[in-house]
């Protein structure tokens, strides 16, 4: 299917000829699939057209036309991941990169308002100038700064900066039928500080631990909470990527990787650090990620991995402390040292004794840009298990279980051998957690088949062993597997979809569709 002339012209009338294209070169570039969950095929189905709207009115008009023409639409902000794809013909892409304004930063009440085309690094830089910081998607600061765009939205900073589901304030939503709904204070007063009410909060209809992946209209502006930034207003770097160090992070910061004898000790350390409220960042880390991050080449990574294998167990935590004053830093460091003693945590000397390595890692984890090195080094693409959000230990245990399946794939030589330890995130001073299992692979048919088999087994583990609904669960097929075991939530989710998108215009193959 291609758009007929009437359809193309109608869309063109909305945005102007410069901002729409169905040139095959453009369409193919939007459907090239690499990186995350890259399949053996190089391209996903083509969009019918790529449209770059710039205002709410344009988006509303496009959405209404899509409904009228019985086409589908799918919005994206940076378009980084398979959930941005069309899965069948008949879909137009709304690329929101032109909507890239930071609308407001309110210092005293600590929130910012962004359009989806603003990326994390831009918002962070502006916030830091004001002594504030925003949570960042763990994928990297190249993702949208909007709290309701990236898959789950947690990341390195979530220990002190929470995540999208809980950071989001007022929201501007263009429904799948093209109506504009302004959540919370925005709808009643035009201000952005609150996303809830009057009455029940519509935030609950448009996202859960994960976002609806393009399947529920378009989010055009969102307010997000900000947090105190204990560092400098800007950071100077010396050197050139991949070898660089920040020279101006003040001395109220410290980074450590601790290795613990077993899961129990790591879990205890996670809870004690959380309850003491001392960490700016806290993540369950592993040797594969540490090696990939510190290394500046694949060769160096392999060397470091071998070195770390003798030093690190499978139960490690990465901690960053940021003191808002010398006194605060001193106290937090003292507590951290004591907790490490109490839980038998051994500090990785590569980090604690080499200030350059420490500073480089710290900056990559604070912004953060670390994921890129961790996941793309070695094979250039990655997949794995993305757990849900729950209490930290449950999420860690889930990954330990799925790691057994990963180990089998390593043994079968289907994937890169970086061991099978989990990586986890601690959220809100240890109240919640999230776990993932990173799998790096070359996307050929047999490896891909192995990946699919892994995913099926991971689902079975999650359901049979009561680990909740992981973040990787999207699409009708997956919801239909989980739903019957999880209070039939898939039926409720489908009811939301049907109520707000009766024509199924908002491409829902990565969310849920209106099928019975």
């Amino acid at each position: 299917m291609t758009l007929n002339k009437e359809q193309y012209t109608a869309f063109e009338d909305i945005v102007g000829p410069e901002y729409i294209s169905s040139d095959p070169a453009i369409l193919f570039s939007y459907s090239w699939r690499s990186g995350l969950y890259a399949p053996p095929q190089d391209f996903s189905p083509l969009f019918e057209a790529i449209i770059l709207p710039h205002t709410n009115e344009e988006i509303q008009a496009i959405v209404k036309l899509s409904n009228k023409f019985k086409l589908q639409f799918k919005a994206s902000s940076t378009g980084w991941g398979p959930y941005n794809d069309a899965t069948a013909p008949g879909c137009v892409k709304l690329d929101l990169r032109r909507m890239n304004r930071i609308i407001e930063i309110n210092v005293k009440n600590m929130y910012a308002v962004v359009e989806p085309g603003v990326i994390g690094t831009q918002l962070q830089a502006e916030c830091m100038k004001l002594g504030l910081n925003c949570n960042q998607n763990g994928a990297g600061t190249n993702c949208s700064a909007s709290p309701i765009v990236g898959h789950c939205g947690f990341g390195h900073l979530s220990q002190s900066g929470s995540y999208g589901e809980r950071n989001q304030l007022a929201l501007e939503w263009i429904t799948p039928e093209g109506e504009l709904v302004c959540f919370g204070s925005l709808g009643s007063t035009g201000a952005w500080f609150c996303g809830d009410g009057p009455g029940p909060s519509l935030r609950g209809a448009v996202r859960g631990n994960v976002v609806p992946m393009g399947g529920l209209g378009v989010f055009t502006k969102a307010a997000t909470k900000l947090y105190h930034w204990p560092g400098p207003t800007s950071v100077e770097l010396e050197g050139v990527s991949p070898s660089y160090v920040p020279t101006s992070i003040d001395n109220h910061f410290l980074i450590r990787i601790y290795s613990f004898p077993d899961m129990e000790m790591m879990d205890q350390a996670q809870r004690k650090i959380g309850e003491a409220e001392i960490a700016y960042e806290l993540m369950g880390f592993n040797k594969g990620m540490a090696a990939s991050n510190i290394a500046t080449s694949n060769e160096e990574m392999l060397k470091l991995h071998a070195e770390f294998s003798n030093l690190l167990t499978d139960f490690c935590l990465m901690v960053i402390i940021g003191g808002y004053s010398a006194r605060d830093f001193e106290y937090k460091t003292k507590v951290l040292n004591q907790i490490a003693i109490d839980t038998q945590g051994k500090s990785l000397t590569k980090i604690s004794d080499d200030p350059e390595v420490a500073a480089g890692c710290m900056w990559r984890w604070l912004r953060p840009t670390a994921s890129i090195r961790e996941v793309f080094r070695a094979t250039g693409c990655f997949a794995g298990e993305v757990g849900g959000t729950d209490v930290f230990r449950l999420m860690a245990d889930y990954i330990v279980e799925t790691a057994k399946v990963k180990q089998k794939m390593i043994n079968d030589k289907l994937i890169f051998d970086d061991g099978a330890p989990p990586f986890t995130q601690s959220i809100e001073h240890g109240h919640y957690g999230h776990g993932e299992l990173l799998i790096r692979y070359i996307p050929n048919p047999s490896n891909w088949a192995g990946m699919m088999d892994f995913m099926a087994k991971a689902n079975e583990i999650a359901i049979k062993q009561h680990f909740g609904v992981p973040g990787h669960v999207f699409s009708d097929m997956q919801h239909d597997i989980y739903g019957p075991h999880v209070m039939n939530y898939h039926k409720w989710l489908r009811k939301i979809k049907k109520s707000f998108d009766p024509n199924g215009a908002s491409e829902g193959s990565h969310h849920i569709t209106v099928k019975e």
């Binding site: 009440n109 600590m110 996303g195 609950g204 631990n209």
Partner: protein, 486 residues
């Protein structure tokens, strides 16, 4: 006959239709028009609730869930229509589960603050509670109302400290929100190491957010969980008194931003007096002994080096105070901060502080940001002046919530309900001030009583979207009809 069905289901003794009981549920201390319910039924468990909802659907009978005991203040439990059945959940009093490890508690709707505070304290935990709630207030009811709480640094999201809910939706279907959804039963989840604490989900909807703020219009919640914090090892509370609101909000901002204080709130002299006084004379004495604004905060420390932490945080707090030009003190007038801390860490003593002196109180509350406060308070005073309500008798409570992103602003209009003229003034002021405050940007995120339509009508798009949600959960509109926009 519905009464037979109800009696058969719940036992005759649990179906009440004595006129005085029906009368007591027909009105509350708000100004909503009284409507008598047809019955008041007491339920004991989930099974009864489910069967009750089934009967209600079959007979198109309105159900009004009520968890707290009297007195009620906001009109949300007064029937909005005739023939309604009050579902009294206050007898469901089990504290089901407390986990020190996961810092959470699970409990039924009838559990009150006093009961839960002492239950979690035994495990080394504490709740983030609203300001001196009345003794009969249900914890679950408070969570469902998104009631502001006194420790803003632990209030990351407006829904906090809520966790998961078990709910029978209006259409009769059972659902558990968030992590509690599963897979598996609650017991299986515990055995696996799970805890029903993560509120979001399952997957890409967060049902708890649609249940909160709904005033019982979505379904009947039979248990909920709350996130808890650990009990401090040491606490050091202070006051900052000032007549300058900007100084006060600057101090609030930094205390919350640097996570320096646990309990942290602002009251005017009227509200402090109302909280502490036992009679009118004491009230006047306390009120006149105080500065117009009182910021109260509490520095706390936990297991590791508590003395050092407290000392350091006090130093930092003093630094902040100095920069702003205010001073933290241990006593204000004759009130000692340690005494005040004790008062706000518990439910109110009896009689409830809002009705102790005058007999009644009408609250006007909304959300805003610091920079708007001055103007909104001025607006309130202007409206009170116009009506002839003495502005110096208006209590004001400012509570930073969502870690200081929002400020809950509450005006407490204390009055004597036996004085018809005064009552009428308060009634008028309630609606006129609400309108004017809205004009000036106050956001009434939780509309109650007779101002509801005024508030909801401002946002037609949200109303339309909410109606779609309501259609999903309660297509026959049996749950508390007439409330909000339903």
């Amino acid at each position: 006959m519905i009464v037979e069905k109800l009696s058969q289901l719940l036992g005759k003794e649990n179906v009440e239709f004595k006129p005085d009981i029906l009368e007591s549920f027909s009105r509350d201390l708000s100004f909503v028009s009284p409507i008598r319910p047809a019955y008041v039924v007491k339920v004991k468990n989930l099974e009864e609730v489910q069967n009750l909802v089934k009967i209600a659907n079959e007979t198109q009978t309105p159900l009004i869930p009520v968890s707290s005991g009297a007195p009620h203040f906001r009109g949300d439990t007064v029937p909005g229509t005739g023939g309604a059945v009050i579902v009294d959940l206050s007898g469901m009093k089990r504290v089901i589960h407390i986990s020190r490890k996961h810092r959470m508690a699970m409990f039924e709707p009838g559990v009150t603050f006093g009961e839960l505070i002492s239950a979690v304290a035994k495990e080394g935990l504490r709740l983030n509670i609203p300001l001196a709630p009345r003794r009969s207030k249900s914890v679950l009811g408070s969570l469902l109302e998104r009631e502001p709480v006194v420790m803003p640094i632990y209030h990351w999201d407006i829904s906090d400290p809520s966790g998961c809910f078990e709910i029978t939706f209006g259409n009769g279907e059972l659902f558990r929100t968030g992590a509690a959804a599963g897979s598996g039963t609650i017991e299986e989840q515990w055995a696996a190491g799970g805890s029903q604490k993560e509120a979001a989900g399952p997957s890409s909807a967060s049902w708890y957010r649609l249940i909160q703020g709904a005033q019982g219009t979505m379904g009947i919640v039979t248990w909920g969980t709350a996130r808890c914090e650990i009990l401090p090892k040491l606490e050091e509370p202070y006051f900052i008194g000032s007549s300058n609101l900007e100084n006060i909000t600057n101090a609030l901002h930094w205390l919350v931003r640097l996570r320096l204080a646990n309990e942290c709130l602002v009251l005017n002299n009227v509200d402090v007096a109302a909280l502490l006084a036992n009679n009118g004379t004491e009230f006047q004495k306390i009120k006149t002994s105080l500065t117009p604004w009182i910021l109260f905060f509490n520095i706390a420390a936990y297991d590791y080096y508590p003395e050092e932490r407290i000392k350091g945080q006090m130093e930092d707090m003093n630094g902040v105070a100095k920069k702003i030009g205010v001073q933290a003190v241990k006593t204000l007038g004759k009130i000692h901060a340690n005494e005040f801390l004790k008062i706000i860490q518990q439910p109110s003593s009896e009689p409830y502080w809002k009705i102790r002196i005058q007999g009644a109180c009408q609250d006007i509350f909304f959300l805003t940001i610091y920079e708007k406060l001055d103007e909104l308070i001025k607006t309130m005073h202007e409206e009170a002046d116009k009506i002839g309500f003495t502005t110096t008798n208006i209590g004001i409570y400012l509570q930073p919530i969502v870690q200081g992103v929002n400020c809950h602003c509450e005006f407490n209009l204390f009055y004597n309900p036996l004085n018809a003229a005064e009552t009428d003034k308060v009634k008028q002021l309630n609606s006129i001030a609400t309108r004017s405050l809205m004009e000036k940007g106050a956001f009434f995120s939780r509309p109650y009583g007779e101002n509801t339509s005024l508030i909801m009508n401002r946002d037609a798009a949200t109303v339309a979207a909410l109606k779609k949600v309501k259609q999903i959960t309660d297509p026959k509109h049996i749950m508390n009809p007439g409330k909000l926009c339903f």
